[in-house]
């Protein structure tokens, strides 16, 4: 009896665009951060005496790129539809 009742009921799928939006927003910065650190490691391997300066620019580049991924986390709260 309960199986028939369960089969007869309809389920609605609720799509949370905020979550999907964050997933899409994390693609670009994921690639970007990989590029930043990859090139920094290669540069440090080519010229180890410049490691300090390269590390400084690496962290600056990382934070500028990551802000876009974090914007994907906070923007659903800004644009919430209710």
């Amino acid at each position: 009896m309960s199986v028939l009742a369960a089969a007869a009921s309809t389920t609605t799928l609720v799509l949370n665009f905020g979550a999907v939006g964050y997933g899409l927003a994390a693609i670009g910065p994921g690639i970007g951060i990989g590029l930043v650190f990859g090139h920094a490691i290669e540069a440090m391997a080519r010229q180890p005496e410049a490691t300090g300066r390269i590390t400084l620019y690496m962290w600056i580049g990382f934070s500028l790129t990551e802000v876009l991924a974090l914007l994907g986390l906070v923007v659903p709260y800004i644009f919430h539809a209710s």
């Binding site: 300066r53 400084l56 962290w59 600056i60 990382f62 934070s63 500028l64 990551e66 802000v67 974090l70 914007l71 986390l73 906070v74 709260y77």
Partner: protein, 272 residues
């Protein structure tokens, strides 16, 4: 059975929710960033983030006051620590960006760095456990102050038209300038201060949410069943997120201060 009883009793708050108790996982969200006032004075509610911010200000001022109250040539313990902090900001942040002529901005950068760093660290200290920089009300005045400072310095040192025209290179063909000038003006006057503030705010917001989710999940899963295994896994994740947040706190303070120094440097430099 017990699930239905607990859910129908209507008490599904964060403390009583466990696995298999009928209440779903009470996920942290935006409501966790709003606090009831600790006390109210004439309709103005004094909340926990304000308390955290005031304590950080008092701590930073008190530390540097005590360190340099009676400076000696051979420093004692506190003065040595204070000197290490100031020299770290000067040599890693100020000198690479501005050079020796920027030494008069050292008090500003030292205050910014240690204030932001301590406010961020409050996320991890047990009793407070709230990064006050995750409320935009604490970030926006700092951004406005930095914005006003480097705009004032730019207009004073390079003249109004000189400062604005230095934002784009001059020896490019004019069809490129049609696209370049609006983009550069937009970036400079609107996007730069906006991202300076939102970088700090979003990092702290996301960090607090991450830490909250894993801590609440540890408590939620800790029922006397297979849930204890998952609760242990969640506790390990709390440790990882703790270490990550330690790095992010230091990095965000460093980045805010470095970008402030960079913007001041671009305001101070003479015309190309």
């Amino acid at each position: 059975m017990t699930g239905a009883v607990a859910a129908s009793a209507g008490s599904c708050d964060v403390f009583s929710a466990h696995l298999f108790s009928g209440c779903g996982f009470q996920a942290p969200g935006l409501q966790d960033f709003y606090f009831k006032p600790l006390f109210t004075v004439d309709g103005f509610g004094f909340t926990k983030p304000m308390l955290v911010a005031i304590l950080c200000v008092i701590a930073v001022i008190a530390f540097f006051w005590v360190a340099f109250r009676k400076p000696k040539l051979v420093p004692g313990h506190t003065q040595s620590l204070g000197e290490m902090g100031i020299l770290a900001v000067r040599d890693q942040i100020l000198r690479p960006a501005i050079g020796r002529k920027g030494d008069k901005y050292l008090p500003l950068l030292v205050s910014l760095f240690f204030y932001i760093f301590l406010m961020n660290l409050m996320e991890l200290i047990p009793v407070f456990q709230f990064p006050a920089m995750s409320k935009t009300g604490f970030v926006i005045p700092m951004v406005i102050a930095v914005y006003a400072l480097y705009l004032y310095l730019g207009f004073k040192n390079q003249g109004a038209w000189g400062y604005i025209s230095n934002m784009w290179p001059h020896d490019v063909p004019w069809p490129v300038l049609i696209l370049l000038i609006p983009v550069e003006l937009l970036r400079f006057f609107i996007i730069q201060p906006f991202t300076l503030g939102i970088r700090l705010f979003a990092n702290m917001f996301a960090g607090h949410l991450l830490l909250s989710i894993f801590m609440l999940a540890t408590w939620y899963l800790a029922s006397l069943s297979i849930g204890l295994l998952f609760a242990a896994g969640s506790a390990v994740m709390v440790l990882f997120i703790f270490l990550l947040e330690l790095l992010v706190d230091l990095l965000q303070a460093f980045i805010f201060t470095t970008l402030t120094a960079t913007y001041i440097a671009s305001s101070l430099e003479a015309a190309h």
